[in-house]
Amino acid sequence: MVKPSPAPVPGSAADTTPRYDGPVPQTEGEVWAILSAIPDPEIPVITITDLGIVRDVTLIGEEVIVAVTPTYSGCPATTVIGLAIETALRDARLMPTILTQIDPPWTTDWLTDEAREKLRRYGIAPPSATGPEACPHCGATTLTKVSQFGSTPCKAAWRCDACLEPFDYFKCH
């Protein structure tokens, strides 16, 4: 029996629904609103504006320039994010140009409070200067580092000593 394929992840390449079907944006605020609906391809519960990687938006008529900063210089998601931004803005009938801006370098300080809460609910401990504060599953605070690196460049692997579950920690950067 052929299993039905799962619904595409919203915002992924397999998701063919238009990113935007409203009127052509007239203000930079409206462009920001479109960008704030684009999920991060690797952690889809947070958006690219939650992550703080959209640094600047300039709208001149139908042309829009979006400055994006990479999280880690080799992060493979950067290209996908650029493509998602371009697709969304073309769906809004704008002419986008995506610029890479490395200065000042991205820091996890730019994560919004909302993003930190979304990460926690998703099972990823948000960044903190002294390492993860609590297990995102049970809230216990006795934790062990398993590896300084995890499944993506922005994460490390930890384990909770109370519930013994492994969890991802969003590295402080």
Partner: protein, 250 residues
């Protein structure tokens, strides 16, 4: 060829060659966590390569891209240190090579964040955050393995002894370095040696490893005059696609 271009290819070739070496571990590391860690470190270094060689290509102004520089040059045009082209050896040797380079890399990038060339300062500010993490990790592993079992201790000491003759090249100044320093673009490599020695002595002491005596230093990587045969073999693997199908794109 301008000194600035040479300097930028040195930066980008170090990260490219070491990044490729680390990626050779993908699927082969002793444990899964270390496999992922090496691959992530490689990824950071390849990302930094895109910035350094991207700027090198822009400075050169000959219509070449970062990809062209990485994939279409042969060994004699590479300007990386001999240390980073050393074959991986065992896991201990890979980690020792990483630690020796990371300490140098971190000191260099820290200094470059104050470069008079704002493009270089911006790349350094981005890269230094990643490299600080690499340096913490490789030092921790050198200490753990050096001060570990008899077997791991012996392997780390053997790796240190074998790699030591490749340390000196990192701190050797030449005409390009002098020109970069005079323009306030980059520090003279020799000025980083004292801080490196202090940090490395501390790490090696904690690791119960003996610092080798000799000061003999192989030369010929950063000036391209005498790369080891290992670089050519590595490039034949890394550049295989462009060599077999010139101009292939995707």
């Amino acid at each position: 060829m301008s000194d600035l271009f040479t300097f930028l290819t040195r930066m980008g070739d170090n990260t490219l060659v070491l990044g490729h070496r680390l990626s050779e571990w993908c699927g082969h590391a002793p444990v899964l966590e270390e496999d992922i860690a090496l691959a992530n470190t490689a990824l950071d270094l390849i990302g930094q390569t895109q910035m350094w060689l991207g700027l090198a290509a822009q400075v050169e102004g000959a219509g070449r891209s970062a990809d062209d520089l990485a994939m279409l040059r042969d060994a004699w045009d590479f300007r990386n240190l001999l240390l980073v082209e050393r074959p991986n050896g065992d896991f201990g040797a890979t980690i020792m090579r990483q630690c020796l380079f990371d300490r140098f890399h971190l000191l260099l990038l820290d200094a470059l964040t104050h470069s008079t060339d704002t493009r270089i300062a911006a790349i350094a500010a981005k890269a230094v955050k990643e490299v600080r993490y690499h340096a913490d990790r490789s030092a921790e592993l050198v200490i753990g393995l050096g001060d570990g079992t008899a077997e791991s201790h012996t392997r780390m000491q053997t790796a240190l002894d074998a790699l030591w003759p490749y340390v000196g090249e990192m701190f050797t100044d030449d005409a390009t370095d002098t020109a970069m320093a005079a323009a306030g673009i980059a520090p003279l490599p020799s000025t980083l040696r004292a801080a490196w020695d202090t940090q490395m002595t501390d790490i090696l002491t904690q690791a119960t490893l003996t610092r080798p005596d000799g000061d003999f230093a192989h030369q010929g990587g950063k000036n391209g005059a005498q790369h080891s045969e290992h670089l050519g073999h590595m490039l034949s693997q890394m550049q295989w696609l462009q060599r077999a199908y010139p101009g292939a794109t995707w």
